[in-house]
């Protein structure tokens, strides 16, 4: 590796300042504030706050509701991440084989990416509408009495489908460019060495795609944990009731609907620690197995 040298010690710092200040203002400051307020009990009308120590965390650990949401979040994240990645990879592998019309195909798939999460949620709302949603009708014809927002499982299903649909295009583009950066001759060499197409995929294509896959894994977990907020909010229309929700959505509901800022802050802190641990784990355990060219 080559090391680029800077003549002055201050230039690199100066170049980092914009990025650092953004992180400082939009991440560290709110994060520190959340940590602080998680130790307090706020007056719902904003008249004052009382220091309560770890009580917010203690009540969190005793809340059955919180564990239910945590469970759902884990399942939701796993499903969304898995299906967004798997579908995108499948589409990319197929698209990679198409030479003619590849551009049209790509553009059509990319359009979905331009849809904002709440809009995607709204479209899901229309598709899954209880009375006249085409998908509801379709499920009805299969004998599945689909009930969005009334049935816990059906709502969860809709959430996963819409979130996956929203995320597939991004993954697709990354996977496709990853596939196209694999040298043609390496694939041809594999063609001579191995007659099984699936064998070639798992032995050669997939490992060479792993750096892209690892990057997307982190992006997708983050997406499923945080960016699906808009989808969930639209699908439950701000009234979760008995419907499933993710941890992030619960932070919002408890904090801004329930006016329990302290408890909500405690949840944010827990979430932050979880994501941090998860990312460290991924870099330690998964990245080791990846070959970067």
């Amino acid at each position: 590796m080559k090391r680029a040298g800077f003549a002055s010690r201050w230039l690199p710092i100066l170049l980092l300042v914009p990025q650092l200040s953004i992180i400082l203002v939009f991440f560290y400051w709110p994060a520190a504030y959340a940590v602080k307020s998680s130790f307090y009990l706020q007056d719902p009308f904003g008249f004052g706050q009382t220091f309560v120590g770890l009580e917010n965390y203690a009540s969190l650990s005793k809340s059955a509701e919180y564990f239910k949401v945590t469970n759902f979040t884990v399942i939701f994240t796993v499903l969304v991440t898995f299906f967004s990645l798997a579908l995108a990879l499948l589409l990319a592998v197929k698209a990679d084989k198409v030479i003619r019309g590849a551009r049209t195909y790509r553009t059509l798939l990319m359009w979905v990416y331009a849809v904002a999460p709440p809009v995607a949620g709204f479209m899901g709302l229309l598709l899954f509408n209880q009375r006249w949603g085409p998908l509801t009708e379709f499920f009805g014809s299969l004998g599945w009495d689909f009930n969005l927002r009334a049935d816990y499982f059906d709502t969860a299903f809709a959430m996963v489908v819409v979130s996956v649909w929203k995320q597939v295009p991004v993954n697709f583009i990354f996977f496709l460019s990853g596939l196209q950066s694999i040298p043609k001759s390496v694939r041809e060499a594999a063609l001579i060495d191995n007659r099984s197409a699936s064998g070639r995929f798992w032995d050669v294509t997939f490992p060479l795609l792993a750096p892209t896959g690892f990057f997307l894994l982190i992006i997708n977990i983050t997406y499923a944990l945080f960016d699906t907020f808009g989808v969930i909010d639209t699908l439950v229309q701000g009234e979760p009731g008995n419907n499933p929700m993710t941890l992030v959505y619960k932070v919002y509901v408890d904090g801004f609907r329930g006016n329990d800022l302290g408890g909500s802050s405690a949840q944010s802190v827990v979430l932050m620690v979880l994501v941090l641990a998860l990312t460290v784990f991924q870099f330690r355990m998964v990245e080791k197995r990846i070959h970067y060219t």
Partner: protein
């Protein structure tokens, strides 16, 4: 090991371009054949069709006794060495070499033994556990060779395997590949645009131009009896001098050169003269104006004009020359005549009266 037969093999791309016009030839068991030609001449397409990486539009391809047109590349019993080596970057050298065997259900102990043998043969034993990125260009080239030889295939295919190496390494690998092929006796097809590689490595050369086979022959046949002006100018460095000459009344005339020729040909012809067949001769019939001398150590190249036509002369290092006028004669037995328009060799119908010619030369 097997012979390879192409029967009117043709390639037309979907966009209508005919990359290879119907080509027929046979490669004998154990023979080293080089496909040579400028870029875009269809040599790689032809090789890739033999490998099964491109479809054959028409014609039949046989490896051994069987027509293999519709077989997958993996089922053709071939091994290929690619221009950029095409090693699997995420596998160690050992795994790279073993991959083709593993997929053919070879027992583990046999794989280990074959890999070790190949590694020893190619001086790769110390590098077996490295990844390709940690190897030099020459070592990667050897790994690619190793991957081909462990398979013990019926046919080796080489697609410009040396063009990414520097000149010194290229010369060394050229000899190594040739020696290895001799030792293993595997039928080989080698694609290159480098006429030196073609001349030095081939048992037989196939010269391609614009998707068409110009000539098939041993290196010496190709060099001494080129079938066309294209072959004459492509093979040999520096290339054969091609000058416009005139045939009349059984005499060939070019500048001051007058040769009696027992031929009924009349009119303009293209005369081909190898640079080494031109000799300095103070009484020679050709008057050359030397414009440039290329010093190559072992010999020199003179560039200049004779009667307004460009000419190159190959000179032994002992001979003294200077810029300016010079008189030349030539070894007439090596002259070639080509059709002035089609560039095709004009065979037969004439023979030099050598005795008479020598007399004339002295005049």
């Amino acid at each position: 090991m097997a012979q390879v037969t192409l029967d009117s093999v043709r390639k037309i791309y979907p966009n209508g371009v005919e990359a290879v016009t119907p080509a027929s030839f046979q490669i004998k068991d154990g023979e080293f054949v080089v496909l040579v030609g400028p870029s875009g001449c269809g040599k790689s397409t032809l090789l890739r069709m033999i490998a099964g990486l491109e479809d054959i539009t028409e014609g039949a391809l046989c490896i051994g006794e069987n027509v293999v047109n519709t077989l997958d590349p993996a089922d053709r019993d071939i091994a290929m060495v690619f221009q950029n080596y095409a090693l699997y970057p995420h596998m160690t050298v050992r795994k790279n070499i073993a991959y083709g065997l593993k997929n053919r259900k070879t027992p583990k102990d046999v794989i280990a033994q074959k890999v070790d043998e190949a590694a020893k043969m190619l001086n790769l034993t110390d590098y077996l556990d490295r990844k390709p990125a940690q190897l030099s260009g020459g070592q990667r080239q050897r790994v690619a060779m190793g991957r081909a030889i462990v398979r013990d295939p019926a046919l080796f295919l080489f697609d410009e395997p040396l063009s990414n190496l520097d000149a010194k390494l290229r010369n060394q690998m050229r000899i190594e590949i040739k020696a290895l092929q001799r030792r293993l006796g595997v039928t080989s097809i080698y694609v290159t645009h480098d006429q030196v590689e073609a001349m030095t490595m081939a048992d037989r050369i196939i010269v391609l131009n614009g998707g068409r086979i110009e000539q098939i022959g041993t290196p010496s046949e190709i060099y001494h009896n080129p079938a066309s002006t294209f072959v004459a100018s492509f093979m040999g460095a520096p290339p054969m001098n091609l000058v416009a000459a005139e045939m009349q009344d059984g005499r060939l005339s070019f500048a001051g050169l007058e040769l009696p020729l027992a031929s009924s040909l009349r009119g303009p012809v293209t005369l081909g003269l190898r640079p080494e067949d031109l000799i300095i001769d103070s009484h020679g019939p050709l008057a050359m104006e030397v414009e440039l001398i290329e010093e190559l150590g072992a010999h020199r190249l003179l560039h200049g004009q004779v009667d307004g036509q460009r000419l190159t002369v190959h000179l032994a290092k002992e001979e003294q020359v200077a810029l300016g006028p010079l008189r030349l004669s030539c070894r007439v037995q090596n002259l070639c005549l080509f059709h002035p328009e089609t560039g095709a060799r004009m065979e037969g119908g004439f023979a030099f009266n050598l005795a008479q010619t020598r007399q004339e030369e002295r005049v």
